[in-house]
Amino acid sequence: MTFPVAVLELYPLFRWLSGVLESFGFSANTVLIISYAVLGVIMFSALSIIALFLVWWERKIAAHMQQRFGPMRHGWHGWYQTIMDAIKLLQKEDVRVASRDKIVYFWAPVICFVAAYLAYIVMPWGKNLIVADFNIGILYIMAVTTFTVIALLMAGWGSNNKYALLGGMRSAAQVVSYEIPMVASILTVILFVGSMSMVDIVTSQSGWIFNWFIFKLPFGPIAFVTYLIAATAEANRTPFDIPEAEQELVAGFNIEYSGMKFAMFFLAEFINMFTVSALAATLFLGGWNGWSFIPSWAWFLMKTFGVVFLMMLIRWTYPRLRVDQLMEFAWKFLVPVTFANLILAAVIKYAGWHW
């Protein structure tokens, strides 16, 4: 009986589960499928809790940066405000445009959420705490998260609304443009690891803090900063949030969505933000490596929330870019810089001028 790797950490639960299932006479393959399904549900619950927390955190940070209090009514400093918001959205009427494209309109939030959720198959939450360790891990994450673009285009096209279409188109152009510098920054890491597996990337940064790739890579800080800029754009967050610019496009691609469908877009947006932050922590900040008296998953969460906090500070500090500035920044600045960085890293790796 081979288990998914994650089972090593959650072992007692899965031994109990597989014992129960095998006593019912299920085959080993069925037990494997069911354990993957249970992991999927666990992952969904964890991501929902994280997204609910992030929404509350974002509102509190925004409020305190603007000398307000933010949500204060529900619990201590409004800690369960977002849960109440979710319950409210669940009861909202689903106002649908009469002239929509029915299939495209319906499946857009589903694809948006599933694309964000699939990235967590290969996310290393901690030592041995990963659902499946593909040998193409990072490439898989890049491929899967890009499906968000298709969902946003579908939402824009399907709702037959000019604002929504403009938002979807802008979002596609933006995500597609910032994909290139993001991947080029990640390639410098892959160059030094020699593997695309997420577990290999993390284990090659074990040891002292100077083994983290932000310090270990030649020009590591440049790779980290370009990655962070591109990731902020990928997650459609404020200096780069022209797809949903409230003042010009009302709400962008999700303008015609309400109730649970809107909630799915919102959830996917925050999960995406967590994904890019977790990738930044995994690729550049050592992942779950750290002093062993703190559990590895706590290190992962601390580093990821640190990057998330940085992204929130950026969001509430800088004004939004114009659409032409945005595209020209991607193609005329970020792409040359990241590729020059990649070539330099390759030369330095070949010459051996690194530790």
């Binding site: 393959n29 198959i121 279409l165």
Partner: protein, 117 residues
């Protein structure tokens, strides 16, 4: 190979959970559509025409440049993984490859294709 089974199962679980929440909300939400409510939102104006029309071809040009660079990046992934064993030849080859593509982007830049009017 059984690892990749997890993708299929996660797709099914994710889709299932989302559809389940839609169903849950369908059971408890009010449902009262009428003509004015189901119109497109255009800041309280009557919507004019359909929004499925020809779009600015700027987006198309950027998509075209993106496709070229995305293919380049796909070539770079195996190169980066195997770089440790390949040595000088791979380094020179890839520098030439990237430079050729940068001639392309420089040409597009001079032609004004990267300008967003």
């Amino acid at each position: 190979m059984s690892e990749y089974l997890s993708i299929l199962i996660f797709i099914l679980i994710g889709t299932g959970i989302v559809l389940f929440t839609f169903l849950l909300s369908r059971l408890i939400r009010p449902h009262n559509p009428y003509h004015a409510k189901n119109l497109n939102y255009e800041c309280a104006e009557e919507p004019v025409g359909n929004s499925w029309f020809q779009f600015n071809n700027r987006f198309y040009i950027f998509a075209l440049i993106f496709v070229i660079f995305d293919v380049e990046v796909i070539f770079l992934f195996p190169w980066a993984v195997a770089f440790g064993q390949l040595g000088l030849f791979a380094l020179v080859e890839m520098v030439i490859f990237i430079l050729i593509l940068f001639f392309g982007i420089f040409y597009a830049w001079k032609k004004g294709a990267l300008k967003w009017v």
